[in-house]
Point group: C2
């Protein structure tokens, strides 16, 4: 079982009200030094079978036609080596 | 200017109706072989100043108290080396 991650973010030229709301809230909450926040979506797909070039091409097609609205969003597809990130903050 | 990415995903034991809706739609759209989909949020934070341990600790605190609902969500914090992913699908 392999995991492929598709990140979908608004294009840089598209206004991101969610991200702006987060950014404006941060100083009030005591977090300074953050100049920009963008908020997007992360899809974790569990594949049966190997993650070869054909599978990745299929997922890219899927992301383009279905997961992202490519008029306003960019996406990236990548294979996740393990389920854990390097600096995982596993909250209780 | 450095970029830190905070990924927020529902905990594995929490039902994810958004992800399930995506997963159920995929076979109808001609995409087979995907056994599970989870959908979460991705925050891209632009920091002024260096991304040292202190900054990362601060961001982890921020993610825990503000970006994620740690009752139902897990988060990971990581520094993004460059703005581009390795398999970036820059859609038109």
């Amino acid at each position: 079982m392999a995991r492929v991650v598709v990140d979908v973010m608004l294009k840089p030229e598209i206004l991101d009200p969610q991200g702006q709301a987060v950014q404006r809230a941060l100083p009030r909450l005591g977090f300074d030094g953050i100049t920009d926040v963008r908020q997007g979506k992360r899809f974790e797909l569990e594949l049966e079978g190997p993650v070869d070039d054909a599978a990745l091409a299929r997922i890219r097609e899927m992301a383009e036609s279905f997961l992202a609205n490519t008029v306003i969003e960019d996406f990236t597809v990548r294979v996740e080596e393990s389920a854990e990130g390097t600096t995982a903050g596993a909250a209780s």
